[in-house]
């Protein structure tokens, strides 16, 4: 078991012929993901890698292949519309890897996606992987292993670092999901925590946050009330100066709000094991399993 994606995930890739889209589609296929279709306007009728049919629109791809999940690799200026298109076509799970979607666009995208009954992950995220089953996005498959730890994170490479620590020490993962570092995102910590709590294959949860906003504090409250499985957490940005955007659009300390210290205190108050260094993840998990 896993959350959001599994062996039955039928994936359509939006922007399959682009540089990033084609590279990561090949990686996903090599990993065993069921890639059933690609979309690039104007290239309908062609094939990707000799086996995957390419369509002009997502609606055509869904009608012909029954795709239920989409992943978006299009350039930033087309990304918001790609999300609308996927939702419009009845895709249930939309994963937007593309970065650079304006936040004001996201204020319009989110109500639309909800009205369509779809779930969005991202934008500006590495996507997710259920080891041994399916990989949607850019998380490197070789650092993951099948297992019982659920990983949810606002970051990309920092997540890889922590997955790497887990795998090295024999802790495989049920699903690893990067929710993205933007101020407005489709799926937040709480959504993932809820799913991990309900997933019988997940026995413990690792949560990786960073400075900016209050998502980690809200997630901590949720853990205190609704999560019975052990949770350990990490907050990046203890040394970040206030008022400066640390790469991610969402990673900014405004005034006194959103500091790492504040978030770590919230985690501790919810009985979440707080790592001081990424490599402490294994030791903390061991103590709680």
């Amino acid at each position: 078991m896993s959350i959001f994606i599994d062996k039955d995930t039928k994936l359509v890739v939006q922007g399959i012929t682009g540089r990033d889209g084609s590279f990561h589609t090949q990686q996903a296929m090599d990993y065993g993901t069921r890639v059933v279709a690609g979309v690039t306007p104007g290239k309908g009728g062609q094939q990707f890698s000799g086996t995957v049919p390419i369509f002009n629109t997502v609606a055509q791809a869904v009608a012909a292949t029954g795709a239920n999940t989409s992943v978006i690799y299009v350039p930033a200026r087309f990304a918001a519309d790609a999300i609308y298109e996927a939702a419009d076509a009845g895709i249930a799970l939309i994963v937007c890897i593309s970065e650079g979607v304006p936040v004001l666009d996201m204020t319009r995208v989110m109500p639309f996606v909800r009205d369509c009954g779809a779930r969005l992950i991202g934008p500006n995220c590495p996507g997710l992987i259920s080891p041994g089953q399916s990989k949607v996005g850019i998380v490197p498959g070789q650092i993951c292993a099948e297992g019982k730890v659920g990983v949810v994170s606002r970051s990309g490479t920092l997540t890889y670092e922590i997955i790497h620590q887990l795998t090295k020490s024999g802790y495989g993962q049920s699903t690893c999901i990067g929710i993205g570092g933007d101020p407005i995102i489709g799926t937040n910590f709480i959504d993932c925590l809820q799913e991990f709590q309900a997933d019988p294959a997940t026995e413990a949860i690792v949560m990786i946050g960073e400075i900016g906003g209050t998502a980690e504090q809200e997630a901590s409250e949720f853990v205190a009330q609704h999560v019975s499985k052990p949770v350990v957490g990490f907050i990046a940005g203890q040394t970040a100066p206030p008022g400066r955007r640390m790469g991610h659009a969402g990673a900014i300390i405004s005034g006194s709000a959103g500091t790492a210290a504040e978030k770590m205190a919230a985690l501790e108050a919810a009985n979440i094991g707080v790592m001081k260094r990424p490599m402490e993840v294994v030791q903390l998990l061991k103590g709680r399993l």
């Binding site: 200026r77 998380v139 990046a236 040394t239 640390m246 790469g247 990673a251």
Partner: protein, 379 residues
């Protein structure tokens, strides 16, 4: 991207908001002439991307043109939070009957733009929010309908009793929301929004922060970028597709990914060092990017050791290794370097580095400890 006050005032004016006339000057001569033209008293305001201008002595009242000139001589060229003041804004002094706050921000929780007002204006609004939250009033805006007139009126009744002023303020809020949208802003605020003794509602100061992701489709806003007001290294980094923020420590960090970059800085601190910078080389690396990154890091005289921390995903470790080798062939490094790489094409990278005489580590903790130790020995 932050706009200067004079640029933000311009956008508010375009949106129809009453803003007193002001002029920008780059020399004391100009300031004196402008002050003479304006008559009466003026305010000379440093135009620099830093908060706390007033406290730093960057905002001064002048009773006459000579005094305005004297202030300008001090303010122009002044350093505020490490940034040099290149321009000042000269505005006539305004008689103030009351001061309020009006702002529009993107609220993560409601996933909407929120209009926020307070009768406690003219001071730091975050302090007001922290100490007297009951003095802050908010209205989330549905992007489908915009800020509706009655919503703006409801907010404005929290500021004024006089219905004429309420209507003026409500109109200003709707105009501010429009200016916020047109600029692709993440923040637009008027602080203070004043009433004059004759009862007019006027915007005295303006602040606009623009979402960087909007700049590509808004060339008119992108053209407002003033690179002379930014740290040169940060400009060079941005041009090369890197994100760089200078800090005050001795360990220069070069990392792929924002989260890992922050975690690396934190680990430097954990082991008793201080990071010299935040530097994210981004996803798809090329040797050229790495060369630029090294140039930027070594241009900081505080740097006593350099730390590379690369977790290869999209980023290929061999690209990074090639960049390091090429950069150090051009100019020999004056400080020690510690390189940690793992992930995509790690084996090839290790070979490239070893052939060039570098040691390559695979463990993050070990690499950070080594870099901190080297920086301390050199200091």
């Amino acid at each position: 991207m932050n706009l200067h006050e004079y640029q933000a005032r311009g956008l508010l004016k375009q949106a129809g908001i009453p803003v007193p006339d002001g002029e920008v000057a780059v020399s004391p001569d100009e300031v004196e002439q402008i002050a003479a033209r304006m008559g009466d008293g003026v305010v000379v305001k440093a135009q620099v991307h830093a908060g706390g201008r007033g406290k730093a002595g960057g905002v001064k009242l002048a009773k006459n043109p000579k005094e305005a000139r004297a202030h300008a001589e001090k303010i122009l060229g002044m350093q505020i939070k490490g940034l040099t003041v290149e321009k000042v804004l000269v505005v006539p002094t305004s008689a103030i009957a009351s001061e309020s706050y009006v702002g529009v921000i993107v609220d993560r929780a409601s996933e909407r733009a929120v209009v926020m007002v307070s009768p406690a204006g003219g001071v730091d609004i975050e302090e007001v929010a922290a100490k007297t939250p009951e003095k802050i009033f908010k209205q989330p805006v549905d992007p489908k309908y915009g800020l509706l007139p009655h919503q703006a009126m409801s907010l404005a009744f929290n500021l004024y009793d006089d219905v004429k002023q309420v209507r003026q303020a409500a109109t200003i809020m709707q105009q501010l929301y429009q200016a916020f949208l047109n600029a692709g802003a993440s923040l637009a605020e008027i602080n203070p929004l004043i009433t004059t003794p004759s009862g007019e509602v006027v915007a005295l100061d303006a602040k606009i922060g623009v979402d960087d992701n909007e700049l590509e489709r808004r060339p008119n806003i992108a053209a407002l970028r003033d690179v002379s007001s930014e740290a040169p290294a940060e400009v060079a980094a941005r041009d090369a597709g890197l994100t760089y923020i200078k800090l005050d420590g001795q360990v220069g960090c070069c990392v792929n990914g924002a989260g890992l970059a922050m975690a690396t800085m934190d680990l430097v601190k954990y082991y008793g060092g201080e990071p010299a910078n935040f530097l994210d080389i981004g996803g798809s690396s090329s040797p050229e990017k790495v060369i630029t990154a090294l140039e930027i890091i070594t241009s900081d005289p505080n740097v006593k050791a350099i730390l590379f921390n690369i977790f290869g995903g999209i980023t290929r470790c061999d690209d990074v290794a090639n960049g390091i080798v090429a950069a150090t062939k051009q100019t020999k490094l004056a400080v020690p370097i510690v390189i940690r790489l793992t992930g995509t094409n790690e084996d090839a990278a290790v070979k490239i580095l070893q052939q060039a005489g570098f040691e390559a580590l695979t463990d993050m903790d070990e690499a950070v400890q080594q870099a901190v130790k080297l920086a301390q020995e050199a200091a």
